[in-house]
């Protein structure tokens, strides 16, 4: 292989190779080249996204750790803090969905452990192609099984997430996993190899094999028995070892045995060691032959870039090393001193004392940065073209509602989350199925809530508005349960940034998110970027998944969406759409996609100030105890929101006849009221005798509201339009998304 083929096969461009030559002042060897290739990848180096990420606000009164560490950290109160991050595992999941998803969960858990936090909650954001395709069904089933398989066994509850299906993700599923951990604010660990020279580097966890080594070099070799044996392996997760790793790491930290801690992700020891060195402005030497191996005959370069799962790297003072090894033994983990901290500032790999590669850690940390050309894609004008007056009026609202509720992107997610243990840990106050999961912090009144959101369709039709809408929806979801939103993590899933179209979507979404984060006061404290999500059929929808965390001073004051009592008034806060309209609430709506089969129009641009005012008001009313039932209006409009609340509570709903009569002659307006998606809208209920209090609470606010009906009975009624039993609704909505799937044990791809 020529040198050019070699670096190209490692994913480095000519420009990047020249840059390496210039930095190093000599030709790098294969190991060194491998180090650059992984550290300068998008995943580690953010070379295409770094300038964009700078647009995110990342400070705030509760932020203890912003981006740049293994996870962001926010303060809850009484000395408690939360560490959290979201990460993608799209590509591995497309190839091997079960293990891809499982190792994605394992990886994000280790990021949180590396901060010293105990992982207490997992979420996931998933996208697949439509379920009428066998491969998509296979990916969906195996990804969900993989998430459960890992999360359930490791004993961290999976408390939330989201799933959607669209042709845009056929062949390129999205698997984003998020983890939240809890920690004392003054015990946050940083992955810096400080305390300099002489400290030892300890590797602990599973043994190292040839997992996930960039197989690229072998790809062009002829397949011989020998090359087959050397080929990189698919990474397989071992939640059992993962569980031991959590307990062991926390024990080590609790006993004050570590100087620094870092998880092993892409490019294994090499990248973890170089990150630690770069952050600590020191050097690290690794003795490759000391690494406990699973396979025979591994070469030193393979050892240091292997991506074997369930391993951590720690910096330890020499006199504590024995104690560290002993603790690892108690948890039945392999552990070894594999190197030391030095002052030379390089990441140096030694094989039996011989240096086989050495690169200044700063060079590795300093990936080149590309500012790409931003060009508004031509598809947008076409996609945004939509005249609401061309839209047929539904002639049977019963059928519309049932079809909407049964659609794979809107129906109950129970068949997914019932495969996840959502309660292990005994901290889950509100389980999956509500707008956000609510968790308590044991021994206190404190709690937190967490949600994951994004609408790919919205971002496709209007990247900037969609980016803002994702943040706004998360903000609404947290407010609905009564939590004060604090900060977000995100995972930017996009197509190729090298195409102006793709970069436009990325840049615009980031701008939209940044603006929303600014206005809503929820800085970005961690995140991850996944680019090049494309198949021959084109790029995925721009899909910036947002994971938002909020806090409670008193977690017992929370709300859920289910109707609680008969005879409550049902109030739409934020108001039903008014005419003359400012935008078209059916543009880009779920209704348009589900019923008319169209992804078109420009969704209403989020009014962030209104979002904030309405959400903050809902939260205040939950805190004061005035309301205990709230739900935001998002996909599917108010009609779907009402139906979800009725089903969740097992209590019927009666739309007030006078409201319907008001619009009897204006069927278009009625359609928009029932099915439109305009943002900044909530449905809440109050007992009738507290209606004056609610009006009082709303009197100072600049927010429209409409009392739209009453809870009660076992039917769902919109006079003259809909009359269905809850049982009808339930049958439509509670579908098993896996019903036609093949069983486990099998491949069926």
């Amino acid at each position: 292989m020529s040198i050019q083929e070699t670096y190209a096969s490692l994913g480095l461009s000519d420009y990047e190779y020249d840059r390496i030559l210039e930095l190093m002042g000599r030709a790098p060897n294969y190991l060194e080249l491998s180090l650059f290739s992984v550290m300068w990848s998008e995943h580690c180096g953010y070379k295409n996204s770094r300038p964009l990420l700078r647009r995110f606000p990342n400070t705030g009164p509760r932020v203890l750790q912003g981006p740049g560490e293994n996870a962001g950290v926010i303060e809850v109160g009484e000395g408690w803090a939360l560490a959290f991050k979201m990460e993608s595992h799209n590509h591995p999941s497309a190839v091997e969905p079960y293990e891809g998803a499982a190792t994605g969960v394992g990886g994000i858990i280790r990021d949180v452990i590396a901060m010293g936090a105990r992982p207490v909650a997992l979420l996931n954001a998933l996208r697949f192609g439509p379920l009428d395709d066998e491969r998509n069904r296979y990916l969906f089933r195996e990804v969900v099984r993989g998430i459960g398989g890992y999360g359930n066994a490791i004993g961290v509850p999976t408390v939330g997430g989201e799933v959607e299906f669209s042709p845009a993700y056929s062949g390129n599923p999205l698997v984003n996993a998020m983890c939240v951990g809890i920690i004392r604010a003054d015990e946050v660990v940083r992955a810096k190899a400080e305390a300099g020279e002489g400290n030892l580097v300890v590797l602990f966890g599973a043994k190292t094999g040839r997992d996930g080594i960039h197989g690229a070099t072998f790809a062009s070799d002829e397949l011989t028995e020998e090359s087959e044996a050397k080929r990189s392996n698919v990474q397989v997760g071992d939640p059992f070892a993962g569980k031991m790793l959590i307990e062991c790491s926390l024990r080590l930290l609790e006993r004050n045995l570590l100087v620094a801690l870092q998880d092993l992700g892409a490019a294994g020891i090499a990248s973890s060691a170089s990150e630690m060195a770069a952050r600590g402005e020191v050097g690290i030497e690794i003795d490759a032959e000391k690494v406990p191996l699973r396979e025979e005959g591994m070469e030193a370069w393979e050892v240091v870039i292997s991506e074997s799962q369930e391993r951590m790297l720690a910096v330890v003072e020499p006199e504590k090393a024995d104690e560290v090894l002993k603790v690892c033994e108690r948890y039945e983990l392999d552990a070894a001193v594999v190197g030391r901290v030095t002052s030379h500032g390089e990441l140096r790999v030694l094989d039996n004392g011989e240096p086989i590669g050495s690169v200044p850690a700063q060079y590795l940390a300093d990936a080149p940065v590309y500012e790409r050309e931003v060009q508004r894609p031509s598809y947008l004008d076409e996609a945004q073209r939509f005249d609401p007056d061309d839209l047929p009026l539904p002639d049977d609202y019963n059928e519309v509602l049932l079809r909407m509720l049964a659609h794979p992107s809107l129906c109950s997610r129970a068949s997914v989350y019932e495969q996840y243990d959502s309660e292990v840990g005994s901290d889950t106050v509100v389980r999956p199925g509500a707008d956000a999961a609510v968790m308590r912090i044991k021994g206190t009144k404190l709690g937190f809530a967490v949600t994951a959101d994004v609408s790919g369709r919205h971002c496709y039709l209007d990247p900037r508005g969609g980016g803002a809408a994702a943040v706004a929806e998360a903000y609404r979801n947290l407010s609905c349960v009564g939590a004060e939103p604090v900060a977000i993590t995100d995972c930017l899933n996009f197509g190729s940034p090298e195409k102006p179209d793709g970069y436009y979507g990325l840049s615009e979404c980031v701008d939209g998110m940044a603006e929303a984060c600014e206005v809503l006061g929820t800085p970005v404290v961690s995140g991850n970027v996944s680019l090049f999500n494309e198949t021959e059929r084109g790029a995925i929808y721009p899909t910036p998944a947002v994971g938002m965390v909020g806090v409670f001073e008193d977690v017992s004051r929370h709300a859920t969406p289910g109707f609680k009592r008969e005879g409550d008034m049902v109030v739409v806060l934020g108001g039903i759409p008014r005419w003359p309209r400012e935008g078209h609430p059916l543009s880009g709506s779920s209704y348009l996609e589900v019923i008319e089969g169209k992804v078109a129009g420009r969704p209403i641009v989020p009014d962030l100030a209104a979002e904030k005012e309405a959400a903050d008001l809902v939260r205040t009313m939950i805190r004061s105890g005035l309301i205990d039932t709230a739900h935001d209006v998002s996909e599917g409009g108010t009609l779907v929101a009402f139906a979800e609340m009725a089903l969740a509570g097992g209590i019927g709903f009666d739309f007030a006849a006078r409201e319907i009569e008001r619009f009897a002659d204006d069927k278009r307006h009625l359609q928009e009221i029932l099915l439109g998606e305009k943002g900044a809208t909530f449905v809440v209920t109050v007992p009738q005798n507290r209606w004056p209090e609610l009006q009082e609470a709303l009197s100072g606010a600049n927010i429209g509201y409409d009392d739209t009906g009453y809870t009660g009975g076992d039917r769902f009624v919109v006079p003259g339009l809909i009359d269905l039993s809850l049982e009808d609704l339930r049958r439509a909505r509670e579908r098993d998304l896996f019903e036609q799937h093949a069983p486990e044990g099998g491949h069926l791809g």
């Binding site: 398989g149 066994a153 004993g155 939640p239 569980k243 031991m244 019932e418 292990v424 889950t428 044991k442």
Partner: protein, 222 residues
Amino acid sequence: MRIGVTVFPGSNCDRDAMHAVERAGATPVELWHADPELKGVDAVVVPGGFSYGDYLRPGAIARFAKVMGPLEEFAKSGGPVLGVCNGFQVLLEAHLLPGALLRNTGMRFVSRRARTRVEKADTPWTALYGEGEEITLPVAHNEGNYYADEGTIRELEEEGRIVLRYLDNPNGSANDIAGICNEARNVVGLMPHPERVSDPALGSEEGLRVFESVLAAAGAKV
């Protein structure tokens, strides 16, 4: 009263069980799998989780752990032992209870609330429930489908050793069995998780009486 909670590699409901024990008013004592001693506890809970990753078969490896020797003696001498979920599986593998737990018939992990009926209040772990009382408990398992040969099932029925039954069987379990006890009635295995509903902060305390029962039973004996 001191109640031991075993911790195997891969146990993950141990902390939850200790929390429930505390809430019931007893002192939880960690029993590490590699230490062959029960530290003088008055009762033992074998908690849920994935001991040894559930590899091979749930409970198959854990039953050989060093702590199991003394635990078996304790059980045979009448000491109250409760196995929950994976702990139930461990007790079956250790032959402290009869039968086995197979894969759920739906072939999926099932995590949800199950309605159950307490059939027997004459065990140390159910003494404070009314016989026939219906309670809702969380289940979360892959292998909760109770199986035993016909003779054994008949015996369990006739001897009143089915302690808890599902009202909406989530896993295909024979005779809707959610929990059983041994002949001496001191060893109880439950598939659902009472420890997860033992705190009003989580919205339900329907499981707390399992842990309070053993305190009451001990109190009655003194």
